[in-house]
């Protein structure tokens, strides 16, 4: 390997600074959340304690954190499953041009670029004017899908653009029905990408704020609860909450990435033996 040019070191420094910029603040609040009971929102640390984490478990101090966490978690799972199923079906549909596919595609793009507050406002208005109650599991669920589905679908486009159609042709030549081809050939091949779609579905829902603002109803999701806290909580308890939810997100991301990795390894081990022959 030849010597690295000077530009490498310059760019590597820029990259490191970027990572510091990206993660620095999060690490800072993680440290500050262990602030002693007398400590404030910034350094210096006045002792080290779990005081603010303990506060999170006392309902009166911070409101209904655990209830809203539960709702966000369930909603995240609902959105995740729906996003995966609908995106795969949509991705399969878009592989062939059908009447109206262009219009549908532009709707997907619109869904991606429309300011979130418009979805919130529009869905909220529809529900209130038709006398329905907004609820996180109905109107909130639907509003979040308008954000997660375009991401899921774009990933599926990327996947199918790279998909080798000869696998399907081989299956069909051997007499597999359309459903069998999808079930036993297409789905197993795209499975790791589906985990990616699921990751997007869950985390985007779990962190979504603007689209649920007017559509969640009287029971808050976690981001709405945190948003409420930013206006009236001036103690490090909000850092403790931030640290906990970020840690939770990191665990979720870790689980997803680990399963992609495991799946790819398994595939490398047991995968194709084509060309090695049994003869």
């Amino acid at each position: 390997m030849d010597r690295r040019p000077r530009s490498f070191y310059v760019l590597a420094t820029v990259f490191t600074l970027f990572l510091l910029f990206l993660y620095g603040p999060t690490f800072t609040i993680a440290i500050l959340s262990f602030q002693g009971p007398e400590g404030g929102l910034t350094f210096p640390m006045r002792g080290v304690s779990l005081h603010w984490f303990r506060d999170l478990f006392e309902q009166q101090a911070v409101g209904d954190i655990w209830g809203s966490f539960g709702r966000s978690f369930v909603l995240g799972l609902m959105v995740m499953v729906t996003t995966v199923v609908v995106s795969v079906m949509g991705g399969l549909a878009f592989r062939k041009r059908f009447a109206g596919s262009g219009v549908l595609f532009y709707l997907v793009v619109t869904s991606l670029v429309i300011p979130s507050i418009l979805v919130s406002l529009g869905v909220g208005l529809i529900f209130s004017q038709s006398g329905l109650d907004v609820h996180w599991a109905t109107s909130g669920f639907g509003s979040q899908l308008t954000w997660t589905l375009p991401f899921g679908l774009l990933i599926m486009f990327a996947v199918f653009n790279r998909f080798d159609k000869s696998y399907e042709e081989a299956a069909r030549d051997q007499g597999a029905s359309a459903w069998q081809t999808i079930r036993h050939v297409v789905l197993p091949i795209i499975a790791p990408s589906l985990i990616g779609v699921a990751l997007f579905g869950f985390t985007l829902s779990y962190d979504e704020f603007a689209r649920t603002l007017l559509t969640a109803g009287s029971y808050n999701t976690l981001p709405l609860e945190i948003y409420g806290m930013t206006t009236n909580v001036t103690t490090p308890v909000i850092f403790a909450l931030g640290t906990l939810t970020t840690a939770f997100s990191l665990v979720v991301i870790g689980v997803f990435l680990a399963s992609v990795w495991a799946m790819n390894r398994r595939r490398a081990r047991q995968g194709s033996d084509a060309g090695q022959g049994m003869v």
Binding site: P5, L11, A12, V14, F15, F18, L22, Y23, G24, P25, T28, I29, L32, L41, T42, V85, V86, M89, G90, A93, F94, K96, R97, F98, S101, L104, L107, T110, S111, V113, I114, P115, I117, L118, L121, G122, V123, L125, I126, Q129, G142, S143, L145, T146, L153, F157, L204, D207, F209, L214, P223, I226, Y227, T230, T245, T246, S249, V252, I253, L257
Partner: protein
């Protein structure tokens, strides 16, 4: 004899007609199949995207009292909006945020993507560092905003560091709750949206093109401006679409990071919503949507999204 020739004629024509039938049959089948598979997607978008937009457009013509809204067809909301100097100031401010954020995220995002794609040599390292850049995208934006407070406050890390270094004598007030902190938060939140698509297009550039440029005597800088940047244009455009629309539609970052001291269009809408002035909020929303779609329309002229994924 006649029977035979008739037979032959039949058998001659049959495959063709059969083929035609098969083809037409399959075309119909194809459209049906496409819609069956796309129907859940279409349904969700219809109910939670198209109908809400229609509803907003309708309500933007309604009237409002202090406590309720009533159906009407009046242009009052638009008239008020388009004749108020506040509207133009706020829209101008929104564009200012969008352009500044776009410039910073593009510069930083391009540099980071360039380093990852052309200077990191092993694929494993590329993937690992790329993931490191994208992980914050999957965590909470609100928390990431809050985490700037200990840095930028009057007694925050930035001020105390600068003061102990002797650069300044008293704390800077404009670090938090100012345009500076708003842009900083936007750049912090949205640079990933530039890094990912630009990195994606860079990875697909044929490396022999770059070698060819060097072999023809181009300097590193010339290769960058004449070969790499033009080939990255689709990625740059997709990243720009994300950043511009996210910033233009934002209301929470501006509210939080400016300490409610600056306004953008999103805040105008959310303030009206807070006051239950839904028709006025809807009219502002319609204008915002038209503006955003026009910007996107211009950007989309430069790129075919589906081809680039």
């Amino acid at each position: 004899m006649t029977a035979l020739s008739k037979n032959r004629r039949l058998s001659g024509s049959r495959p063709a007609s059969l083929l035609a039938q098969l083809v037409t049959g399959r075309t119909k089948n194809r459209h049906l199949m496409g819609w069956l598979l796309a129907s859940p997607l279409a349904l969700v978008l219809l109910v939670f995207l198209v109908l809400p937009i229609v509803m907003i457009v309708i309500v933007s013509f309604w009237g409002a009292t202090e406590f309720s809204i009533y159906p009407a067809f009046q242009w009052d909301n638009y008239q008020f909006l388009l004749t108020s100097p506040v509207t133009y100031k706020v829209f101008l401010n929104t564009f200012k945020y969008a352009v500044l954020t776009w410039a910073f995220t593009l510069t930083i995002g391009f540099t980071v993507a360039y380093f990852l794609a052309f200077h990191v040599r092993s694929l494993t390292w590329q993937i690992a560092l790329f993931l490191l850049c994208t992980i914050p995208f999957w965590t909470s934006n609100i928390i990431r905003m809050i985490s700037w407070i200990p840095f930028l406050g009057r007694n925050g890390i930035a001020n105390s560091t600068l003061m102990s270094m002797g650069v300044i004598d008293e704390p800077l007030d404009w670090l938090l709750y100012s345009d500076f902190s708003v842009i900083l938060a936007f750049v912090h939140l949205y640079t990933l949206f530039m890094v990912v698509p630009i990195f994606n297009t860079m990875m697909r550039i044929d490396r022999s093109l770059i070698e060819a440029a060097y072999d023809s005597g181009a300097t590193g800088w010339q290769t960058l401006t004449n070969v790499i940047i033009p080939l990255c244009k689709p990625g740059i455009m997709i990243g720009s679409i994300f950043v511009v629309t996210l910033v233009m539609g934002d209301f929470i970052t501006v509210r939080f990071m400016s300490g409610s001291q600056s306004a953008n269009v999103g805040r105008l809408i959310s303030n009206d919503i807070g006051l239950l002035q839904y028709p006025s909020a809807a009219a502002t929303a319609v204008i915002l949507l038209i503006t955003v779609l026009m910007v996107i329309g211009i950007l989309l002229r430069f790129v075919d999204i589906r081809k680039e994924l």
